[in-house]
Amino acid sequence: MPLRPKIGRSLSQAQAAYALLLPFLAVYALFLIYPFFRGVWISLHDWNLLEVAFNPAAKEYVGLRNYERVMWGKDIEWSLFAAPLIQLAGLAALAGAAFTGWTGRLSRPTALALGVVAALVVLIAGLHPGEEGRWYDRRFWPTVGNTLVFVGLAVPGVTLSALVLAAALNRESRAMAALRTLFFLSQVLSVTVVTLIWQIMFSPRQGLIANITELFGGTPINWLTDAQFAMAAIVIATIWWSLGIALILFLAGLQDISKDLYEAAALDHCTGVRAFRHITLPNLKRTITLVVILQIILHFQVFGQSHLMTQGGPNDSTQVLVRYIYQTGFRDSDLGRASAMAVFLFVVMGAFSVIQFIVGRGKSQ
């Protein structure tokens, strides 16, 4: 008879919580944590994909050599003028962070985070091979640069267009509901379909864009094979594709803003663009931060657009990190190096998550 209460007592709240969490944790550990640490482990080996599959003993522990081979070079020097523009921008950001942190316009942790990033930019951009030196892997850093350019274009592109669209579509009419669905639809498509659509759109012979240019008497641009336009082309396709989620998040944010605010502002003759600037934007700050960070993490992992639309070309101008990892792992069968690059990507994305954490905490204080 006292059996039942006993069981009830033996499972404390914490224990029950763990019991309920266990299935999730098990799956998470099996499919995320274990592969992650295995990836780190592989990155410490000279590991040929095919050879190791046929002979598990064919791998060799090499310590950090893969990292050195990927990121470092012979006779590497540091100077303040290796990449003057980037480094000056970094210095300016560093000064800005110090100033805003000092005057209290930004919270301490936020300013600190910004400062650390700026200092890293100044430091890393200053590295360059000396007269007799060379990078061991001449493609790695340019690839990282391309990835940053892609993120730098795609994230503001998606955020701004989603914000403008959300503000325009935030009305309760049937047409707006239909338009909201329409704009979200592209998000549902897979990357293969999206890139196929845009390859046709960009085609200088049959594409819609070329046809319109010709209609106005211009010569069509070879979007995907012209080094000046290739990156822009994959950014445009990406913005079109990943607008949906940002749009939904902004719409949710907009609906959280009380109507009273707008009514009160209207009494003070603050409507339209001014209301957007003084009421909508400040109230959307948190949503904007969330969208930006989510997009940054998402777009660092860009692969399909570059792989399918431009094959990383022309002349590597759209080669991005994940595609390089893929090529190193599968085309070159060099899993060790590929894993080292993947760990690097993880660190970069992890850094952005940390920044989000710090900035988010700074806000609530």
């Binding site: 050879e51 046929f54 085609s203 080094a227 022309p314 002349n315 090529q327 070159d332």
Partner: protein
């Protein structure tokens, strides 16, 4: 009685279903939905190969073939991943240039002892074809073709420019003549002389390679020294870039666009492989295409010796299948024998056959345009074997694209390419 018959039929289907050995097959060449089983009627690589596979599945007793879905562009990545995961297809197509990489680590089954028993006669293969599947003295596949770069010619444009003699196109024999012909075409017709995919797929690379080989040079030596930053390589590249500089070719066209421009009748010559001969022939016969008079020529010799880029398609069986699953291995050999028997059907694509008995047959000689590029087999060339073939091709494609798409100086690009190829050879 009727019930008895139905039961008997059901039992028969069940029995045959149980004994039919399923063979999984991996291939590129693209998809063909309704290939049927008529190996004589299909057109284009995808449909011809699929009709042969369908016929094999239908005609070989006790063997059914499942063609796995694969993507052309990522084929080798998929195959490698499948090997690494322990689930490679029972038979799969591959290129000759991949043999060092796959056979070098023991991934492919050595077939020499089992071919005759399966009905394949290696003695009937041409010497080049046998060399294509041979690695370290063993035979690691059944060759299906030799394919090479050709000059596909629009005879109407050539005639207008006065570049036809005795019904044959007059092709250049030096870089200077090349530019002179191009100017003739531009003057007479206002059209481009040459089109090819210089922007994505490495057809431009293969063209430069041919021009390099024609000077008796190569991009690296058998012992693994990169030799790209040379006078010969510079001459080869500049032979091509002079066309771009003078507006006789557009380096920004990709595969589909360059092909379309040739089929629209906008370019006199298209540099592309043997794989499109039957397709272009069919297109030229259509009323609506701009190309009406189609001719196929051997890649012309612009320097001292003849050479054109070439490779081979071949079928291989994974080593683990031979070791662990003799029944499926035997079934897979039967499939290879069937494909070997239908070498003439595959040659309809435009590829060169690998069996002497087929090459010497009247049926082969009568294939459309076959006589026009009979010289190609003798000048077929490729780079020395290397496990890094794919990566090396990518380096060349990138650096050459940098020259003609982004204006990188030829010397810089060749020096950079040499360093990177050397890195790959040293890895």
């Amino acid at each position: 009685m009727r019930q008895l018959i139905i039961c008997g039929l059901a039992a028969a289907t069940l029995a045959s279903g149980a004994t039919a050995q399923e063979v999984t097959l991996g291939r590129f060449f693209g998809a063909c939905e309704d290939a049927g089983t008529d190996t004589k009627a299909s057109v284009g690589e995808a449909c011809i190969i699929q009709s042969i596979i369908n016929a094999a599945s239908a005609e070989i007793d006790g063997v059914s073939i499942e063609t796995l879905p694969t993507d052309w562009g990522n084929y080798y990545d998929q195959i490698k991943a499948a090997y690494a995961g322990g689930t490679p297809p029972d038979v799969h197509v591959m290129h000759r240039h991949r043999i060092p990489e796959f056979a070098g680590i023991g991934a492919l089954a050595e077939l020499s002892g089992d071919l005759e028993a399966a009905g394949i006669d290696p003695a009937d293969w041409s010497e080049a074809a046998r060399a294509a599947v041979t690695h370290d003295g063993g035979i690691y596949g059944v060759p299906m073709d030799i394919h090479a770069n050709l000059w596909h010619v629009n005879m109407d444009i050539m005639a207008e420019a006065g570049l036809v003699e005795d019904g044959k196109p007059v092709l250049p024999s030096s870089p200077e003549e090349l530019i002179a012909h191009a100017e003739q075409v531009k003057e007479a017709t206002g059209k481009s002389y040459l089109a090819a995919d210089f922007a994505q797929f490495p057809l431009g690379v293969r063209m430069v390679l041919a021009l390099l080989w024609q000077q008796g040079d190569n991009i690296f030596t058998e012992d693994g020294t990169a030799t790209l930053d040379t006078e010969a390589a510079r001459r080869a590249v500049e032979t091509v870039t002079q066309l771009f500089d003078a507006g006789h070719a557009d380096p920004r066209l990709n595969y589909a666009d360059s092909q379309q421009s040739f089929l629209n009748g906008e370019a006199a010559v298209l540099v592309n492989g043997t794989w499109v001969v039957d397709f272009y022939d069919a297109e030229a016969a259509k009323e609506e295409t701009g190309l009406d008079s189609y001719y196929v020529a051997d890649f012309p010799t612009l320097f001292s010796e003849g050479a054109t880029w070439a490779d081979s398609h071949m079928w291989a069986i994974p080593a683990p299948l031979k070791a662990d699953d003799p029944e499926t291995y035997q079934a897979a050999l039967k499939v290879l024998a069937f494909i070997n028997d239908h070498n003439i059907d595959w040659a309809r694509t435009g590829h060169m056959a690998v069996r002497n008995s087929v090459v010497d047959s009247a049926e082969y000689a009568e294939l459309p345009h076959r006589g026009e590029y009979a010289g190609t087999a003798a000048i077929a060339t490729d780079t020395p074997p290397s496990e890094r073939y794919g990566a090396i091709q990518d380096v060349l494609n990138r650096e050459f694209q940098a020259i003609w798409l982004t204006g990188k100086p030829v010397g810089d690009a060749l020096a950079d390419a040499e360093i990177e190829v050397q890195d790959l050879l040293d890895r």
